[in-house]
């Protein structure tokens, strides 16, 4: 029997467990459709703000020798209103709308824009490491996290995910705060604050100087975080960080993730990576005699 790749992240049902992570390729519905046809189980949009943002000047991305990328795109996005209009005609694709803001009202106002859209979930970006006043600066403030999650949960019946990262407040505490405030699931982790300097010209390469490290170097860190969250809390987890092969994906399931997201792998292997990973997971499940993804979630925690 063909293994079933469907998975549930709490109230969110997906046919396939591999999603497009936020920030990647996420500005055109045509591209979303293409990614869905290419095997993505869901696509997470670029983080949307109340107003359009141009982001930082180039260079906004840097390829690290030894693997991984550092980016400081600066959350460029067309704004929630423009974006909502663009995805209004969406019928087929499970779209998870990523939101970024400084105060609870930002999130509340943006959610109103999506009333006519088919949205699978909202993902609150509480962890972007390179834009002031939003992202990690919000995620590091427990009171603000509590207010934002509570406000968002009161504004919509659509499931809400919090995306956490490595800031100055221990991410496990941020996860705990989000859970107490009624969050439906956690995405872990965001990129890790980093930088690169060119030795010839002796200056930081990214225009913003600091960016977020993604890709294979952060995979073991993200995996550790998923394992720690699933050991401490009873909350559905989406693993994210450096996943580029089916083995990586399975590691995250075994650590306790119900689904995974990827982004940097697209820069290395292009969008064929979705089906490559789906196929690999499927073959692994056949070999291990699993009929559903949930049978392997958290197995690495058995003593």
């Amino acid at each position: 029997m063909e293994p079933n790749l469907s998975t549930s992240i709490g109230p969110i049902q997906l046919d396939r467990p591999v999603m497009l992570a936020s920030g990647i390729l996420g500005i055109s519905l045509d591209v979303f459709n293409r990614l869905y046809r290419s095997g993505a189980g869901a696509v997470v949009t670029k983080s949307l703000s109340t107003e359009p943002w141009e982001g930082y000047p180039n260079p906004t991305i840097f390829s690290v020798k030894g693997g991984g990328w550092i980016n400081a795109v600066g959350l460029s996005n067309p704004g929630a209103e423009n974006f909502a209009k663009m995805i209004e005609s969406n019928k087929d694709v499970p779209i998870i709308v990523s939101l970024v803001g400084s105060i609870p009202e930002d999130f509340e106002n943006m959610i109103k824009q999506f009333e006519k859209c088919k949205v699978a979930a909202y993902e609150l970006n509480l962890s972007c490491p390179h834009v002031a006043k939003v992202g990690l600066e919000v995620g590091d403030d427990p009171e603000l996290v509590k207010k934002i999650v509570t406000t968002v949960k009161n504004s919509t019946n659509v499931p809400v995910i919090a995306k956490v990262g490595l800031g100055t407040t221990h991410y496990l505490n941020t996860v705990g705060t989000a859970i107490e405030s009624g969050i439906d699931a956690i995405t872990a982790i965001n990129t890790v604050r980093a930088m690169a300097i060119d030795v010839e010209t002796q200056r930081p390469i990214l225009s913003n100087k600091f960016g977020g490290l993604s890709g294979t170097p952060i995979k073991p860190i993200a995996l550790r975080c998923v394992y720690e969250i699933s050991s401490k809390y009873d909350i559905p987890i989406i693993g994210c960080g450096g996943i580029s092969t089916w083995e990586d994906a399975v590691e995250f399931f075994l650590a306790g993730a119900s689904a995974i997201q990827l982004g940097s792998a697209i820069g290395d292997n292009w969008i064929d990576v979705f089906n490559e990973i789906n196929t690999g997971i499927s073959q692994y499940m056949e070999k291990k005699n699993y009929s559903k993804i949930e049978e392997m979630i958290g197995l690495a925690k058995k003593s």
């Binding site: 390729l25 260079p59 390469i205």
Partner: protein, 270 residues
Amino acid sequence: MQRNHNHTTIVTIEKVIDETPTVRTLVFSDEVMSNVLPGQFAMVWIPGINELPMSVMISDESGKAAFTVRKHGTASTGLFNVQVGQQIGIRGPYGNSFDLKEGKLLLVGGGTGLVPMMRLLTHVKPTDDVTVLIGAKSKDEVFFEDLANRLLANNTHKVIVSTDDGSYGEKGFVTDLVEKHVGQTKFDGVYVCGPEIMMYKTVQTAHSRGIFVQASLERMMKCGVGICGSCCVGEDLVCKDGTVFDGDHLSQNKEFGNFHRNKAGILENY
């Protein structure tokens, strides 16, 4: 060790050529960039200023390559102002290339869109009959006419320039010349790079007559590697699926010729 095309390589500008008052060619030594395929591009870092995608220009000397840039925005003006001895960073090459047919070929270029066309000319066979159409606003802005003639010295060829104001060559838009030549000759392949409207009309003219046509598209780019999504045209990503697209494919794309995205990713009309 083979270099990873995503890693930035620092090169020094060795020569600066003024092509027109607003267009310059900057020459540097780099074996990889000297051998890129027509249509491929590099991401070019001007330290402290910006980074932008540039089609890679040919050089007369082996082992060398160049960028031909028109000063326009912050990034291109920054590159335009780079002087001999200054360092810039390059990564790539990225993107695909043209499917060069044999026989009667038509190449159409406007402005710095001529760069991939010049590189394409280095790949034509001596037996090909090549027509090159160069479009410019006025006499001041005409460049690469002599170069095109030189590259085609061993071919049956024509290089025809048109200027919008008639100050040099034929008067009118280059797309009118395209219409005329495509109407007269059954070309085996048509290749175009330049302003989007020029490409759109050229693609329409050739494709509607069943002639094979390809265009090398330009979009705002941030990453160049298929991650940021800035350069999407409909469902296509210029950096990964292009820069070169078939007319057949482009004629199905609703954004080509009509819209581009700004830095925030909002669609804007041409």
